[in-house]
Amino acid sequence: MDFLSNLVNGISLGSIYAVIALGYTMVYGIAKMLNFAHGDIIMVGAYVCFYAVYHFGLPGWAGVLLAMLLCLILGVAVERLAYRPLRRADSLAVLITAIGVSYFLENTAQLVFGANNVFFPNLFEAEPIRLFDGRLVISVVTLASIGICMAVMVILTLFIEKTKLGKAMRAVSEDKDAARLMGISVDRTISVTFAIGSALAALAGVLLCSAIPSLSPMTGSMPGIKAFTAAVFGGIGSIPGALLGGLLLGVIEVMGKAYISTQLSDAIVFLVLIIVLLVRPTGILGKKVQEKV
């Protein structure tokens, strides 16, 4: 039963990583940049929800929606102010800027919310579910994480495949100049990408903090790095890759903690990543971009 319980917890943690990884992978796919500040959006979202629900008494769902909305605005603003002016700069300058934005968000959060951990009460108050005569206990937040992740994946895939805006995003990710010749605004498309990624990060932040359950200005940092790893693992730029990478990473982490070593579990995660990249440099589902001239 321990194994099953670990597996469920791993899938749940992995689901959260997957939702965060979507932000990395979509931004990379469309703007061709690594937004290292993405992890910190998670933390901002969690704080917004925390204050909305536990200080201002909003219902949980309203807190989550408010967090998503404010992070959406924050993500779009960060892109607008920090990254857009560098659209033609080389990628190293963009990378350094992203790291700068990340520190900026963390330090501002320390100033505004304080540097200490706060207890993040579980938003999902319902009783855990007991299976097999109570030998397998699954908390509601665990199930919610898995369910929300699956729903997000389905909705996002339909959006990208079927809607006009989604197709425009695919066009921009393939060839920006050709997309502009179609009448697609590349700037607007990139804004939409940041908006979606950041709103999802806020959602993931609430799920993550409900599961931990604590929150500090550094909360987003490590999950951010792991979700980035998950995105690379699955094949950066690929949405199914983010799901697969996230789930694998979550399961490896939880299993590593349970059966190998609590201290080493993060090291194991990155070791697996290195091995995967040695064998498949584009990640599991990543495809080599082939140019046909």
Binding site: K164, K167, A168, R170, A171, E174, D175, D177, A178, A179, R180, L181, M182, G183, I184, S185, V186, Q290, K292, V293
Partner: protein, 235 residues
């Protein structure tokens, strides 16, 4: 009436001036061709007109509107479409999706009608509507690139070397379709290395050498011109 009026544009790549004081005009209903050797600046000129590059000076007026500083994605909606050099179709999107992208600025209701129009010009695309762009042959990709540009119902269609890399029979086919489009009312600006073919369907031509226009005349005159024959028509 001039549909496109380009006046004294200069385009730089860094400090290199690739286009030097170029002026030309395209009247409504014409087929105009811009011929010149590799690196003469043909693509640069088209990209400047479509807004992908910007001119350091001078002006570009399309259909009575100054588009010199306008963003590329806003120019399409005015009725100016470009078939870029090397086709640049969306390789991972299906034929139909590529066409839908071409109609990005168009009202939803017009898409199905225009798609059928494109398919009537290019029956081969109709057979392959669900195939992804990257798996089409070179000729089919060129047809798709042209069809995609037609989806925005342009007043002026700019084509950058549509014959590049195609077998002679396909070149014939592409040129026939250009003539058909012209007959159905589209004004054409054609950039070609295949100067003979281009001049044979064009009304007028401009000859470009290292970023400068060195000659312009009726296409029939240019075809007989000694210099043009030597440089671009193989004797």
């Amino acid at each position: 009436m001039a549909l496109l009026e380009v006046d004294q544009i200069n385009v730089f790549y860094g400090s290199i001036r690739a286009v030097k004081n170029v002026s030309f005009r395209v009247d409504e209903g014409e087929i105009i061709t811009l011929i010149g050797a590799n690196g003469a600046g043909k693509t640069t000129i088209l990209q400047t007109v479509s807004g992908l590059l910007s001119s350091a000076s001078g002006s570009i007026v399309f259909d009575g509107k100054d588009i010199t500083r306008m963003n590329a994605h806003r120019i399409v909606g005015l009725g100016l479409a470009q078939v870029p050099e090397g086709r640049r179709i969306f390789q991972q999107m299906t034929v139909e999706e590529n066409l839908e992208m071409g109609a990005y600025t168009q009202p939803k209701g017009s898409i199905a009608i225009n798609k059928e129009k494109v398919f009537s010009h290019f029956p081969r695309l109709a057979e392959r509507r669900r195939q992804v762009g990257g798996t089409l042959s070179g000729g089919e990709q060129q047809m798709l690139a042209m069809g995609r540009a037609m989806m925005s119902q342009p007043k002026l269609l700019m084509l950058d070397e549509p014959s590049m890399g195609l077998a002679p029979i396909l070149v014939e086919e592409i040129f026939t379709i250009i003539s058909e489009l012209h007959q159905s009312g589209t004004t054409i600006l054609l950039v070609e290395q295949n100067a003979r073919m281009a001049l044979s369907i064009a009304d007028r031509g401009y000859v470009l050498e290292t970023g400068k226009i060195v000659k312009t005349d009726a296409a029939s005159v240019l075809l007989k011109d000694d210099d043009v024959q030597k440089a671009y028509l193989g004797g």
